[in-house]
Symmetry: C2
Subunit: 321 residues, 2 copies
Amino acid sequence: MSEFTRRNFIATSTLMAAALANRPAEASAPTASKQGPGVYRYKIGSYQLTALYDGTWFRKIDDKFVRNATSALVDKALTDSFLPPGIVPTSFTPLLINTGAKLILIDTGTAGQLAPTTGLLADSFATAGIDPKSIDTILISHFHPDHINGIKDKDGKKVFPNAEILVPEPEWAYWMDDSKMRTAPAEMRPMFLNVRRIFADIAKDVKRYAPGNMVASGITSIAAYGHTPGHTAFAITSGNESMLVLSDVTNHPWLFARHPEWQGIFDMDANLAVTTRRRLLDRAVADKMLVAGYHFPFPASGHIVKAGSGYDLVPVMWQPL
Amino acid sequence: MSEFTRRNFIATSTLMAAALANRPAEASAPTASKQGPGVYRYKIGSYQLTALYDGTWFRKIDDKFVRNATSALVDKALTDSFLPPGIVPTSFTPLLINTGAKLILIDTGTAGQLAPTTGLLADSFATAGIDPKSIDTILISHFHPDHINGIKDKDGKKVFPNAEILVPEPEWAYWMDDSKMRTAPAEMRPMFLNVRRIFADIAKDVKRYAPGNMVASGITSIAAYGHTPGHTAFAITSGNESMLVLSDVTNHPWLFARHPEWQGIFDMDANLAVTTRRRLLDRAVADKMLVAGYHFPFPASGHIVKAGSGYDLVPVMWQPL
């Protein structure tokens, strides 16, 4: 056998391709234009959970993306994970919980408004065989656009018309306060306006919960402030099993779990966000809890382990039901 | 906020469940009985690859599973990865390559004959929108049942009737040799018989290749002996991209990449298998090549990094096309 190296393969392949250049044959199946469906199911006690992929935003970053790390360090974290530098592939995975009595959706995706490679949630619902009309409850973790935009379609119509919508009280208090909008930095104004676009005309139907309380059968909200003023995580418990839904406590785990002290540009109170991150990740480690992370690589769940001065995600292993 | 611990969640949830015990409501969607489809697409140059999940065999292991490690050590490797002890979740993921001119399938799955949680390949083909009749070429890595059984259905009919079947010459020479069958340990006899069940009546149509040569446009076979006498890996190259298909060089990476010296019961020449494993994993590390592993957790590809005295898999991050 000749020595196999990447270089040899490519040299041989180029020769072969030249030899075949005039060949007219075509494979009897065309190249597919879409990724396979992003639907992954698992159980917590008697509850069935379904991770529903909404897509990935290939976010171009500059040296402001992490306030307290150079872009060279961020790029190294990306390339060490075999990702290209300068781009953070930020994925979005709302989580559906079927308690047997209720269908509960945590966060609602981007409605395709962040990038052409997002907005797959409707496809994922279809693959899962779930009609959005059958959702009973929507739990919102916080008011960033990638979590609330999916409440409405592009025409402003409710995507989940029969769902009661539950939002964190301190999140509502902050974003719906016109004086906060007036005094916030100018670049935050679109986010305030977006919150109004989603909630203003349905305000009377939106229920506000105080983080720390049970918000649905088996689902407890957990104050996880810092990322936003009312950012909320959740614990889901059924039988003697439980899991921790981290929401945006940690953005991409290969950056912010490994470097929990990094202050992402999206963390509004960066110091509090770091404290919250360590508190919840330490809890996940201590209790060996399964966790879900909204921006974790699909299927967006796994376990947290200590690794060096930070943490690492051990992704769930894809299994049949 | 009250302290959140796993114990508190469960206690609260039990109270809540008792309170709701008489509640008659049911969610408007039933619990799903199947996992989401296991279809994942990616590109190597102009080639489109599709990982097609065939299921997972929850293999109960005893202290003979690894010849040179105690079951306590194997169990620790499992529980360190948050898997239950005593069971190796062995998944099967054939790989489809659309070169633009040909549809090539590497290995064919279990035909559902290993466990009720296997045999999903036909579903995965359907989800991918590919008719098995359109497969042009089947490349077989070796003759273990989970790689060849999918060539035929339960009635002995060819599943891929229009595909030419290419197998490693030394693999054919070993398993089709009746004298080898007679002198092999009794427990190997069913495997010899299974090879005959699959190949005897189609022998004239089976082409044998010498590992080390190009077997299809852009696909080079690589002798990777040890797991079986003719076990073969592959390199796939298109444009200036290439990847390494490890076949069974490494079984579950959380066991055998992390502990490359472990001699699994399935490795026929265990010393040679260990040497081959280190040789190919070292190559993957040196060239930073994307790899696929037939028994890696779906979508069964990623990159290999050095970790301690062994290696670790950095799984691919699920992305849109």
